[in-house]
């Protein structure tokens, strides 16, 4: 499984959001910890004051009043009793216990002997026999409270010896505060995180969108060198990338144009000597070598013509008109049949905007290919649509392996040179067909035909 997102956008946003969440959590923990420490201190302070207050009251009260007072004052969280004797512990109290003891002593009106018997966290309050049922209930409520909402009670058992020697024993339990979730705080943090995530998402998207359009432009460049240049806007680095890309596109175009001019120049210049050769041949006596030479010249002428056709296929020297596709396809089918192939036509289409000569050249090449390599039986199907017209040229030949289907569209590429030479191909047919289709805003592609064979599919958009 992949945990990290693949896209730059996803990675940056993930890093930002993760950072924010970690920082927020740490901050929240610190805050909550501080708050609970502060609460704890307050509770201890309160317990010390209360115990000191009770001791002062009992100390001042007459001895016969004391049992009544003790009963009245013994309410949670402070229970007190006069029944226990001074217990000599001998042990040194812990730091928490002595701090508590000092606090109680500070609050007393006059110093009295004090000791802490126990100062510890317990899971539940100690049960003492002989308690009144009402108190029991309260204690149990406290217990439940402790069990459910706080893990521990802090139980402080304190003894004080009053002025007349009476020993008062206090059992004070300090419940941990119920750790209720600080909803307001958490809500604020969540809001903060959401706002930062949204803003950073927006900013990162703004950064990565030009990258996406750069990738799109690079994709499109392979198909159309004349595509609109990229908009040179956005952050500086992105602008620079767009500028470099546009410069590259211009350089590529210039390079290809130079090459095309050279090729066109050679092809043009070959036409004069070829014309002369043809005229010279007319002077020779009829014979085998003369007709062989004538065939050679035809072949050279076809190559030159094919090259010029290919170079011209993308240009728009021809006017675009509304073209009757049915008539075009019928005528081509009849020509192919006259040459010995069997072509079946299916479907019709409404007229389409096209350049007649160029489109004719494109379809001638596709049908010729199907006849040449496809065993002579070809199906041509017109499929009309609102957005585009599809013309399928299908044969039952051996087909072309999927890996080779794009390569055959490159100029001068033949799959089997020997076979192509036998059949007189120039290696430009499909390249011309595709260049024409693209100049029309359409496309030619090859697919395997269902049931065996090849399907060449020409799509022309309705503009």
């Amino acid at each position: 499984m992949r945990l990290l997102p693949r896209s730059l956008f996803g990675q940056i946003v993930l890093a930002l959001v993760a950072g924010i969440v970690v920082a927020q959590l740490a901050g929240a923990w610190l805050l909550l910890d501080d708050r609970s420490r502060f609460g704890d201190r307050l509770r201890r302070e309160y317990a010390a004051q209360r115990i000191a207050g009770i001791i002062t009251v009992l100390d001042a009260a007459p001895a016969e009043e004391r049992p009544r007072l003790v009963r009245a004052l013994s309410v949670p969280p402070t229970r007190l009793t006069l029944d226990e004797s001074w217990q000599a512990t001998g042990a040194e109290p812990g730091p928490e216990a002595s701090a508590f003891l000092q606090r109680v002593a500070r609050e007393l009106e006059r110093p009295l002997p004090l000791q802490v018997l126990s100062f510890r966290h317990v899971p539940r309050p100690e049960r003492r026999p002989g308690r009144e049922p009402e108190r029991m209930e309260r204690m149990e409520r406290l217990e439940r409270h402790a069990r459910h909402d706080g893990p521990l009670l802090l139980l402080a058992v304190t003894q004080a010896r009053l002025g007349d020697g009476t020993v008062v024993t206090f059992r004070h339990s300090l419940p941990q505060p119920p750790s209720d979730w600080p909803l307001r705080l958490l809500g604020l943090l969540a809001l903060l995180a959401a706002v930062v995530a949204l803003l950073s998402g927006w900013a990162v998207r703004r950064l990565t969108r030009p990258l996406a359009s750069l990738a799109d432009a690079a994709d499109g460049l392979a198909r159309n060198l004349d595509q609109q240049p990229l908009a040179e806007k956005g952050p500086q680095e992105v602008q620079r990338a767009a500028r470099s890309f546009n410069a590259m596109q211009r350089a590529l175009k210039a390079y290809l144009e130079t090459r095309a001019q050279a090729l066109a120049g050679v092809s043009h210049d070959l036409r004069l000597p070829l014309t002369r050769l043809r005229l010279r041949l007319e002077q020779l006596p009829e014979g085998e070598s003369r007709s062989a030479m004538q065939r050679d010249i035809e072949e050279m002428d076809a190559m030159v013509g094919g090259t010029l056709d290919y170079l011209r296929a993308g240009s728009d020297t021809e006017q675009t008109v509304k073209l009757n596709l049915n008539a075009l396809v019928e005528g081509l089918a009849e020509d192919a049949e006259a040459a010995g192939a069997k072509v079946s036509l299916h479907g019709t289409a409404m007229p389409v905007a096209a350049r007649p000569q160029a489109l004719r050249r494109c379809l001638v090449n596709l049908i010729d290919n199907a006849c040449r390599y496809g065993g002579g039986e070809v199906d041509v199907t017109l499929r009309d649509g609102t957005a585009s017209v599809e013309i399928r040229i299908e044969d039952r030949g051996p087909g072309i392996p999927a890996a080779e289907r794009e390569r055959v569209f490159e100029p001068y590429v033949r799959l089997e040179a020997s076979r192509a030479r036998h059949t007189g191909g120039t290696g430009l047919g499909l390249a011309i067909a595709r260049a024409v289709a693209r100049a029309h805003g359409g496309e030619v592609r090859l697919e395997a035909r269902e049931g065996g064979g090849m399907a060449a599919i020409l799509t022309l958009p309705r503009r």
Binding site: H268, R271, L272, L274, T275, R276, L277, R278, L279, R280, E282, Q283, I297, D301, V304, G305, L308, R312, T317, E318, Q319, V321, K322, L323, N324, A327, L328, E330, G331, E334, D335, A338, A339, G340, P351, P356, Q357, R360
Partner: protein, 236 residues
């Protein structure tokens, strides 16, 4: 008397080869290498036809063609090394009677020359070459070599069909025999697409939405040939 042809081309070898070839086929041939020489040769002896190369140093073929056309109705055959469709159309607009891309088949050249001379001979008072022939709602575009319907939709036709239809449209209400029609087709480039005149006419009728059983446009004249039964308007 032999017809006189003036060849205007800047390539001396091609000039001589053409002189030899056309001379051997019964023409009297004169040559010129540029516009100035062309005017000189024409002044010396008026030719029946000029073969004009499109790409000439100095004044190019199109300018010369326009000049010739302004002065006379001398038939002109343009040669070009480009073979681009635009050249064909531009050449015809400039008033050339026909156009042939290099490298041409010498026999095709011969056929075109004869065809132009025949047409020139037939209408002694020659009109300017038309760019389109219109009949019965159809327009045959001689530049682009295709048929245009009344709705403006282009109906592609093959070279052979074009030649036949042009022959019909230039001779409306005249019966053309199969031999004459074969002759019209003979000039086309040699290829495997040979078929009888009848099949071609059948195809033409279909292109023109003409009922094959009771054709109204291209009528069959029993034991004679075919005829275009429509008024034809020549459009410049």
């Amino acid at each position: 008397m032999n017809k006189r042809i003036l060849i205007v081309d800047d390539d001396p070898e091609l000039r001589e080869l053409l002189r030899g070839y056309l001379g051997g086929n019964g023409f009297e041939v004169d040559v010129a290498e540029d516009g100035a020489a062309m005017r000189q040769r024409i002044a010396a002896a008026a030719p029946d036809l000029v073969i004009l190369d499109l790409m000439l140093p100095g004044e190019d073929g199109l300018a010369l063609c326009r000049e010739l056309r302004a002065e006379s109705s001398l038939p002109i055959l343009m040669l070009t090394a480009r073979g681009e469709d635009t050249d064909r159309i531009v050449g015809l607009e400039m008033g050339a009677d026909d156009y042939l891309p290099k490298p041409f088949n010498p026999r095709e050249l011969l056929a075109r020359i004869r065809s132009i001379l025949r047409r020139a001979g037939e209408n002694a008072a020659r009109e300017a070459p038309a760019r389109a022939l219109a009949f019965a709602g159809w327009t045959l575009d001689l530049g682009a070599r295709h048929l245009v319907g009344a709705d403006g939709v282009v109906v592609p036709i093959s070279n052979g069909e074009f030649k036949l239809l042009r022959a019909f449209a230039e001779n409306p209400f005249r019966v053309l025999t199969r031999d004459q029609l074969m002759d019209v087709l003979a000039g086309r480039e040699a290829g495997p697409f040979d078929r009888s005149v009848d099949v071609m006419v059948h195809r033409l009728r279909r292109r023109l939405d003409d009922d094959a059983r009771e054709p109204a446009l291209i009528k069959t004249v029993r034991s004679e040939g075919y005829m275009l039964a429509a008024d034809v308007e020549r459009r410049a």
